[in-house]
Amino acid sequence: MPQIVPPYLLDRIADAGAERFPLAAEAARRSLLHDAPRRALRGAPPIMPLPRDDDELPTVLPDAPSTPDRRISDAGGRETLPGRLVRREDEPATGDESVDDAYDGLGDTHRLFDRVFGRDSIDGAGMPLEATVHFGRRYDNAFWDGERMVFGDGDGEVFRGFTDSLSVIGHELAHGVTEHTAGLRYQGQSGALNEHVSDAFGALVEQYALGQDAGAATWLIGEGIFTDEVEGRALRSMIEPGTAYDDDVLGRDPQPDHMRDYIDTADDNGGVHLNSGIPNRAFALAARELDGFAWEHVGRIWYDALTSGRLGRDATFAEFAAETVRTAEARFGAGSREARAVERGWQAVGVPGEPSEQAAGAAAE
């Protein structure tokens, strides 16, 4: 599938390589550590996770250690799982970039769930985080198979390896969290919500690792997984769905950003990767309105909704929206700026976020 690369494209994406994650993350961590209390430094006793129902906003230490149990396997270009185990917890870097990126990314993801939401691993009970890299030959995908995250190397023409993006690693692991909590069925609206939840927590993992607030965050999913030849920033934009790429070969980012453009299709399990743009934008808008660290407000509200036990497996956008408004009110208070921002986010994308009975009188629209 050779392709001719227009020069304007090369110029425009020339700096994409510089955005590669590990160095930026490293730099951010160093600056964060600089301000963190000494006890967060290596060798100090671990800090206890915050209680789930703490009334106060969590005083999160972005680089606080957590204790994941990671196992990275190498499929060696075959499509057989799990492949050969090549790196276990506490083992040194292998020098294989995919292996080591997956290992680090799983650590960053575990840290967010553990330190911010008090959830130890996918099941909340410390289950091992397993990943397989180098799956298939020129395989253009990453997925969650119910037990492990699986990453292809990409074709080298459109996609580079899928472990290059921390938000993609967080996205895959979040599928596991959804499976163990709300269990949103992977079809139609509940499937698009399943995808949305993975994008939301994937973005939060990246923001948490970089110490970015909602205003500084890119709200991009999969930044850095396109080759330089592709005219595009990322796979998806949560804040501006439909604008992540516009390329001669790839076409244009097809995500809708409002219910009026909801796509009815039999493909892609009912358009789960398309319609997720709608809740994605609601989430990002609410986060931007509140500013500050998104994991401290919308992240917490969404995590509460995901784990409340009140969402059906076939939840619709409207039901999910209503549940996030409810959990926002439960955690931050009815009429709080957090609850209002969440309601406004849903309204902006045309989803009727049915407010709870108490607040029904104040409902807009």
């Binding site: 995908n141 119910g146 996609f159 895959e172 079809q187 076409g251 399990n269």
Partner: protein, 108 residues
Amino acid sequence: MDVIVQRSGGLAGARLTWEVRVDEQPDPDEWYILIEEIPWGEPPPVPPEPDRFVYRIECPPNEATLAERQLTGPWRQLVDRVQEATDPKRNAPLPGDPREASRRRPTR
């Protein structure tokens, strides 16, 4: 006879379509034998796995939708053949779906 393979889903949610005219292939008989072997209408149901590909295979009058994990045996052989015989079109409009072809994002 045409064989159309369409792959949707995946983390990127992009759609690829491969289309092959069997009679224009160097070995059409082998294609016909393989297509005969396919147990159309009998792919075993499996629950979808997040971010995995979904394949729709059209070979009129037959058509089947399979999860990536179901793509085994003659199904897999047919898809491999189609993918080797031709390059894919990305995000191509679906045949018989005018809404897909005409759907365009309203300008913001």
